[in-house]
Every structure is written in structure tokens, then in C-alpha cells.
């Protein structure tokens, strides 16, 4: 693995790289592609969001970076190596938290170690407690997941993905199951966690404002077969807050993306 803190070259090198990536689940020629011709480089500590209408293959894209799915066309690489299986330095935050209801919050956070290696040490437990503290969940550590609100559950999902300290964090519509207010708050929580643990993030969402609020760049996808409509630089200053949402530039960017998403659907 490359050392990520040294030379300029490494800083510029893509952590995640997709080269004309396409995929179809069924290899027969007459079946349509799910995604097609995706080119994207994600650099160190960059926050890239992918937006697109439902069914455009955003989640397929994430699964290919995660190594859960091998693309039928093109190549996905992480740290310049083609992805052939899931990697230890890539963490996933799932839709709807995906916590195990039979484990306490702390055990859910420690689950990746327990599941991967069969056990964990006292220092691992210390790390889990630190993560819980950071996410403001210390007093809920011994509760069961269903005793937590949806927002808290998803915070557990995020720190579980951070347990193995991955370089890359993949987030698959992580806030889509939450109500609007919780959703806005957890967005800021995520930015806070990201600031404390800088990671390279690929964030899948169907919320345009969420994408603009959180990310450095946004990949806008068309409806199926998903192709790249635009790659937008989000030049809003950080740290972002509720003020960001009220700025004119925020409105411009969301309008721009909205144009891409809705225009192609208007009947000619």
C-alpha cells in the first residue's frame, strides 16, 4: 500500500479510479447495461457524491468500488490495483444503518473485528468507545439498536465503518430512511466526523441538496443506463453549516443539478 502522507505525487494520485466502467447483470447481448462509460478519479480525502434518479446504477457503482461486484466492462481500481474482492482499507456505510438487532450498540461497532477475526482485544474496545464518544453515543453503548432513533442508528453505522480505520469510505444512500430534519442534522454530524477522521468518501444519494451540502465534487448520472451527465466542482467554502444552504451559490448549484436530473425526462 502507498504511504499517503508523503510526496506531492501521492497526494495527487487517485485513491479510487474508474475507467470506462460499465456493467450488466446478464451477459446476453440483448440485455441493457445498468451503468455505462463511467470515468471518475477520487483523490485523497476528497468527498465525492453521486446523484441520479432511482435505478440509475449509483449503488451498482458503489458495489463495484467495494469489490462486492466485478464490473463486466472497464476497470475499477483502488490505490492503482484493480478491485477483485473487498479490501480492508475500504469501509461501507449501508442504507438504513444495517445494524444487527441482536447485538448492543457497542458490539455492533466492534462487529467487523469479531466477524473478520473471531475476536477483539481490550484496545479494540477502547477504540470502539472512542468512536462512540466522538459520535455522541457513549450513553447508548449498551442499548440495543431498536432503542435508538433512526439518526442515532445511522451514526452507529458510520462509526462501525470507521472501526477498521479504512482510507476510503463508501456510503450507499445512508440517510435515505431518515426524516428531513434528522437528515439535515446527520449531514452536519457526518461532516464533523469526516473532519476529525479525514477519509476519501464516495457518497451515493438521490438528494441534490445533500450532495451539494456535503461534497467537493458531484457526479451527476443519467437514468438507466447510467452515464455521466456532468462532474460538478462544489466551490462552497468549508466548514459548511446551515448558512451554506442559504447562500446564492448553493441555490445555483442545486438548480444546475436539478436541470440535469429533470430535463431529460421532459417529453420532447
Amino acid at each position: 500500500m502507498e504511504d499517503k502522507n508523503t510526496t506531492d505525487d501521492n497526494a495527487k494520485a487517485a485513491y479510487v479510479s474508474m475507467k470506462s466502467v460499465g456493467h450488466k447483470y446478464d451477459p446476453r447481448p440483448e440485455t441493457p447495461m445498468v451503468v455505462q462509460g463511467i470515468d471518475l478519479d477520487i483523490h485523497r480525502h476528497e468527498f465525492v457524491a453521486v446523484v441520479g434518479p432511482s435505478g440509475c446504477g449509483k449503488s451498482t457503482l458503489l458495489r463495484m468500488v467495494a469489490g462486492l461486484l466485478i464490473p463486466s466492462h472497464g476497470e475499477v481500481s483502488v490505490f492503482n490495483l484493480p478491485v477483485t474482492e473487498p479490501r480492508d482499507d475500504v469501509g461501507i456505510v449501508f442504507q438504513k444503518a444495517n445494524l444487527l438487532p441482536w447485538l448492543t450498540v457497542r458490539k455492533n461497532v466492534l462487529f467487523p473485528l469479531k466477524h473478520k477475526y473471531g475476536s477483539y482485544s481490550a484496545s479494540d474496545e477502547k477504540r470502539a468507545n472512542e468512536l462512540l464518544e466522538m459520535a455522541g453515543l457513549t450513553q447508548f453503548a449498551d442499548k440495543m439498536p431498536d432503542e435508538l432513533s433512526g439518526g442515532m442508528q445511522q451514526r452507529v453505522g458510520i462509526i462501525r465503518a470507521l472501526l477498521l480505520n479504512p482510507d476510503i469510505l463508501l456510503m450507499d444512500e445512508p440517510f435515505s430512511a431518515l426524516d428531513a430534519l434528522t437528515r439535515e442534522q446527520i449531514g452536519f454530524d457526518l461532516l464533523d466526523i469526516w473532519k476529525k477522521n479525514p477519509k476519501t468518501v464516495l457518497f451515493i444519494t438521490h438528494s441534490i441538496s445533500e450532495a451539494v451540502l456535503l461534497s467537493d465534487r458531484i457526479l451527476v448520472m443519467s437514468k438507466r443506463p447510467g452515464t455521466v451527465l456532468d462532474l460538478i466542482e462544489v466551490d462552497l467554502p468549508r466548514p459548511r453549516s446551515s448558512k451554506t444552504i442559504n447562500s446564492p451559490r448553493f441555490a445555483e448549484l442545486t438548480d444546475l443539478i436539478r436541470g440535469y436530473i429533470y430535463e431529460p425526462n421532459v417529453p420532447a
Binding site: 462486492l68 473487498p86 438504513k96 441482536w102 462487529f111 467487523p112 431498536d146
Partner: protein, 263 residues
Amino acid sequence: MNPTYQPKSWLGQQANRFAPGLFFIGLVLLWELICRFGNVPNYILPSPSAIFTAFFDVEFSRWLTHLWATLRVALMGFALSIVIAIPLSISMMRSELMNRVLYPALIVIQSTPVVAVAPLIIVLLGTDDPSRVLITCLITFFPLVVSTTTGMLETPPEMIELSQSLRAPRYRETWQIRIPYAIPHIFSGLRVSITLAIIGAVVAEFVAAEEGLGYFIQFSTSFFKIPQAFAGLIFLSVISLLLFKSIQWIQAWWFPWSLPKKK
């Protein structure tokens, strides 16, 4: 939980609360009245009071002997079917080949009436516990296999992806994700199986036994001691109910998270 009727007045609430008990008591009273005033002889349909006295016609130690014999066979058969069903379900879930080979065999076993096979098993294994336990096991293991397999197969794909993303060994996917996920399903299978276990033990006793409640009922009936037979039957229902309840208690005690949430 389905929405239940909630009366407003205190009396109404009490009546609502005790409705199942009152219904049961009413039924027993009606039965008693029919027997008394309809002059139904005890050897046709004994009255509840005659059944009650019949309990004391039989020595307590004899009751215990019969009760223990049935309970022992039922529990051994039940335990054996757990030991067989869980690994069988895991292997059918993990291997498509095992599934294709075993599933038709299971269907054949399940659709063969165990009552008809029971005498053959007695011929094969003798008249002792092993054949009775096997008969019980044959009756009880199918619901367990079905519920366990269903539960494991219904595990949400995201949980499986979590396991895959960690590149965990498959046995841990089974033990740390699929089996815990299947716990509520397994318990509904266990609840069905435990009552079937009593049926299995009784069927076995009907075919060949010198003790047990099933044997006792058959024996009493053949001597026209019908109130005694009914008393035995009540014992059977009571242990069946208690076993069913104990499965629920075990689930509530060991796996409280697996119970449906109260609104």
C-alpha cells in the same frame, strides 16, 4: 398485535380482561349441566365433576410414572429433532446440491403419515424408548427444518454484504449473521414442534408401551374407565401447554430482542 376492543367502564374492562377465562368456565358448566340433566352415562361422556374425582382414583405416584414416561419420550424426540434439523437446515442453505438431494426426501418423509409408519418402526427398533423417540422425532423435525431454513434464507442481503465486505469466513456468516437472524423463525418452529412432540409420544405409546399417558388413556378406555381417560387427556393438554409456554419463556429470557415489538 391486532387492535383490541377497549371498553371504557371499569366493569366492562374487567369483563374484557377475564373474557377467555369466563368463556372456559361457562363451557365447563354447560358440559356439567348437559351430563347431569341429560342423563348422559359416564362411560359415554363423563361430566367434569366425574373427571375431577377420577383424578383421585388413580394413585399420585402412578400419575407421575405415566407423566414422566410421556414427557421423557417427548423431550428426547424433540431434542433429537433439534440436533438433526439445525445442521440439516444449515447444510441445505449452504449447498445447492444438498438442498436438491435432501428437500424431496424431506417432503416424502413429511407426507408419509407417521401413525402408519409407527408399527413398522416398532418392528424395526423394538418396543423400547429408541423407537418411541424416533417416532416423535419424525413428527417434530419438519417444522423446525422449514422455519430454520426460511429464517436463514430471509437474512437481508445488506447483512450478507456486510459479511462479504469484511471477507469473513462463511461459517461466521452462518453463525454470527444467519442463525441469529433466524432466531425468531426458529422459535416459531420450536413452538409448533414441542406440541407435536407430545402427539408423537402418544402415537408411539398407542402402538407399543407399558407406561405413559397415551398408554394410560388407551388402557382406561378399553376398560370403559372413561372419566379416567379424560383425566389423562387433561394431563396431556396441560403438559403440552406448559411446554409451549416454556419455549416462549426461553425466548423471552435468552433472546428478548427477537420478540415482536410492543407498540
